[in-house]
Amino acid sequence: MIRLNINGKDYEVDVENDTPLLWAIRENAGLTGTKYGCGIAQCGACTVHVDGEAVRSCGMQASDAVGKKITTVEGLAVNGTMHRVQKAWIEHDVPQCGYCQSGMIMAVAALLKDKPKPTDQEIDEAITNICRCGTFQQVRAAIHTAAGSNA
């Protein structure tokens, strides 16, 4: 039994040492907004924040997240106010199937914390999530809107 702090709330979760954080979040904490896509940290659908950093949660053991602050897409809004990335996503109608978007949004939110007004090149380097529907054109536009830099 380990204790995970997710979205500001403590969860006592019964997992093994090798259980990936992804499955602890989805199955033990019951927060299913974080998605499974590949299990080998290739696609980014499972991206969450651990102490503010974007992490592909399928590639991190849950036990390594003990004592850290985990944020999932469900916890991105603060006091019911959507994060500016979520607002930009809605403004640009970004999601198609939407399955990859939790991870995409979390990756972008972390990027904007690091680089408030990212250039296209910085976006290209930081955002490596797979989207099979192909929403990238809207993703890029929405990132610039969220950053307030319609570059």
Partner: protein, 725 residues
């Protein structure tokens, strides 16, 4: 494609794609079952109006990202004359539909047919509801309905200055006799349809609240992880359950079917961990000898003229044209197997209680899934149902029902316990329904005046229908193999050549094929449109001018081609170091064309795509903003396929198991897509989810030739050491 089954009053037939073969179930409808009672009155099958004025529009087709949920709601709302801001949607279940004489028609969502093949009856559903609501108000006021007007859900009688709302008369409207004479609006007068409205499903897709199949939770549910024999056609011989029985969380190890074993546990991680530890003995069978090389050799034989082939398009005398040619040009192309790789691996949740079976899943065809549940459970239609949830991508894969049947097969062995069966990405890659493999030999003949006198195209390779929907084969021929090559219809060839022969030597390797977003136009467009550039080069002509000469009687094909040529600036020189390519095609009732600007680096090993211009003529545009998104997204799917997409067979199984060996485009590789939406009002309407994919590859390949002088004829580009810059 038109997969609509023949209907009669007492039964319907649902084509359901079972693994390894087609299955058609004739269902006798148990008429008289009541739809589950809802608290709010249903005006008709399509429209429910709640007392608070909320308008619930029922949608039979499946939303998987393509926007059909919003588009179909727009069409109903347009005729309903309701307040769009009050619109929500819900899926009827296939069980409800069967119980109501198939009130919602076809549920199938493939072939880009969601809107184009249901727009008329859903609009009539909206119009009928409007007429009933107005009639109900008129009856209350004792005035003729013709004196009443309606706008945004408010009904008014001007002469007496009275007004009421849909919510207030919905109860009474439900009792009004449905109209039989329904006149639809002229699309010119649309105010909701035809507009670039926002999607109805976006908020839940940005806050983690949208429920996909993988997110389904039921009380006391257990999770199943499965392994199907990796070798196609192989069997499950045995497994050593004792080795994993004591592992944490494991509840049961069971045989799902002839080739599949499952571990059922309290969590997916426990189920997967035990499954990975489970000793399994497979009987690989004969297909273990099959490889990409053996398949390619067999297909290559089919390119010879003396091999039997089904004719798809023919005019003039191609033999004579080639015999009398002043010169001929010949080329052979090939296209690989590809996995759909939707972001959400296959899954389904089933609850079997002995006398009932219910399934929750993301499916592109609720009725096919329903038929699969009936077949696997052995129960009658009144005892089963399928509850559709959001699809984490479909692309054709989720039109199949193999995964639904597996979930039911597991649940059947654990009555009373809901079972969520989840595939790993590896399982999903090994057991796809793959984009079929083909090769193509083409010959063009010229006379001594440099006119193209003949075009001969021999396809050799796999039929999708032979495996998935054999009932739709025509005397052994797969008509869908000729998508984009047909003499007429919704996927018509875009050129007139005096002597023409296009035929198909069908060769079906033991790899299960499926409808892969874009289906057969994807490779057919590459073959034809790259070869057209080869012919133009041989004729010493500009690629656009060469095509135009052959398109005098193809005005709609030419319309989209001209549109992209103009927008890319074909008649003016490209910037220094930038090269252009263009192409066009037709599929799914839509005319599409693409033009690109690229540059190449590292001696041709890197391609930088600067611009993509894409034109689409789907006849009518229901939501231009969503069509633009489908067009842009099509290039991600199409260019991922061109650069990376290949599943190779070795030892009778696929070699690629995850995204590390089956890559997909990232945002860094995404060029700006400039979409030209140019609906010209043709009927039948065209689709938009798939057609544009097929112009992505040939446009880039033609530009690549112009940049390097190298003609690439086998794919993906990674096999040539070529990647994105």
């Amino acid at each position: 494609m038109n997969f609509i089954p023949k209907l009669d009053r007492r039964s319907f037939v649902v084509g359901t794609a079972a693994a390894g073969g087609g299955l058609a179930l004739g269902l006798t409808l148990p008429f008289g079952n009541a739809l589950a009672q809802t608290a709010s009155p249903e005006v008709n099958a399509w429209v429910v109006i709640k007392p608070d004025e909320t308008v619930v529009i029922r949608i039979a087709r499946s939303e998987m990202g393509q926007g059909t949920l919003t588009g179909l709601a727009q069409l109903v709302a347009e005729e309903l004359e309701c307040d769009w801001s009050k619109v929500t949607t819900e899926y009827p279940t296939p069980g409800q539909s069967v119980a109501r004489k198939r009130a919602w028609g076809d549920f199938s969502t493939g072939g880009s047919r969601g809107i184009r093949e249901s727009h008329e009856y859903v609009r009539k559903g909206g119009a009928a509801a409007r007429m009933m609501l107005v009639q109900a108000a008129a009856d209350q006021w004792k005035v003729p309905a013709s004196e009443c007007t309606v706008s945004k859900g408010v009904i008014s009688h001007g002469a007496s200055s009275r007004s009421t709302t849909y919510g207030k008369v919905a109860d009474a409207a439900a009792k009004v006799t449905p109209p039989t004479d329904i006149k639809l609006k002229d699309p010119k007068d649309w105010t909701i349809a035809g507009k670039p409205l926002k999607r109805l499903d976006t908020v839940e897709k940005t806050n983690g609240q949208m429920i996909y199949g993988i997110d389904v939770k039921l009380p006391n549910m257990l999770i199943a992880a499965i392994k199907d024999c990796p070798v196609f056609g192989g069997k499950l011989k045995s497994y050593d359950e004792a080795k994993v029985a004591g592992m944490k969380g494991v509840k049961k190890v069971l045989r799902v079917n002839d080739s599949t074993v499952a571990v059922v546990a309290d969590t997916y991680w426990h189920a997967k961990t035990a499954l990975d530890a489970l000793p399994i003995v497979w009987d690989d069978g004969e297909n273990v000898k099959v490889s990409s090389e053996t398949i390619a050799a067999w297909l290559k034989e089919g390119l010879a003229d003396d091999q039997p082939a089904f004719v798809g398009n023919q005019n003039g005398d191609i033999k004579d044209a080639i015999a009398k040619a002043s010169r001929t040009v010949e080329a052979v192309y090939a296209y690989p197997y590809q996995n759909h790789a939707p972001m959400e691996p296959m899954n389904a949740t089933a609850l079997f209680t002995g006398d009932r079976c219910e399934v929750w899943t993301g499916t592109q065809n609720g009725e096919a899934a329903f038929a699969g549940v009936l077949a696997e459970s052995g129960l009658t239609p009144d005892k089963c149902d399928v509850h559709k949830v959001m699809l984490g991508g479909g692309f054709g894969r989720r039109g199949m029902t193999d995964y639904v049947r597996q979930a039911v097969a597991i649940a059947k062995q654990m009555p009373g316990t809901p079972i969520k069966m989840m595939w790993s990405r590896e399982e999903d890659m090994l057991h796809g329904k793959f984009h079929p493999v083909t090769q193509c030999r083409m010959v063009g003949s010229f006379d001594d005046k440099n006119n193209l006198t003949g075009f001969r195209m021999r396809l050799s390779g796999q039929s999708i229908l032979a495996s998935v929907l054999p009932a739709r084969m025509e005397n052994g021929k797969d008509p869908v193999a000729f998508q984009g090559l047909n003499p007429r219809g919704e996927a018509a060839f875009g050129y007139s050549v005096p002597n023409l022969l296009i035929d198909h030597s069908m060769r079906n390797p033991p790899v299960p094929p499926g409808f892969w977003r874009g289906v057969n136009v994807n490779h057919n467009a590459i073959y034809v449109e790259c070869f057209m550039d080869e012919l133009a080069k041989s004729a010493g002509m500009d690629a656009l001018e060469f095509r135009r000469k052959l398109m005098a009687d193809k005005p709609k094909h030419l319309g989209v081609l001209n549109a992209v040529a103009e927008k890319i600036g074909w008649s003016t020189p490209a910037p220094q170091g930038v090269y252009r390519g263009l192409c066009h095609h037709m599929g799914f009732g839509s005319y599409v064309a693409g033009a690109v600007e690229i540059s190449v680096l590292d001696d041709g090993k890197k391609i930088k795509i600067h611009r993509i211009v894409a034109a689409t003529d789907p006849g009518y545009a229901v939501n231009p903003a969503q069509i633009e998104r489908q067009v842009a997204g099509s290039f991600v799917y199409g260019l991922s396929a061109l650069f990376f997409g290949e599943c190779t067979v070795k030892g009778g199984r696929m070699e690629q198991e995850n995204f590390d060996t089956y890559d997909s485009m990232r945002i860094a590789q995404m060029p700006k897509v400039e979409a030209i939406l140019m609906p010209t009002g043709h009927t039948p309407w065209g689709g938009v989810g798939e057609p544009t994919i097929c112009v992505a590859a040939p446009a880039v390949l033609n530009a690549y030739f112009n940049a390097t002088g190298k003609r690439i004829r086998t794919f993906p580009l990674k096999n040539h050491g070529i990647g994105f810059a």
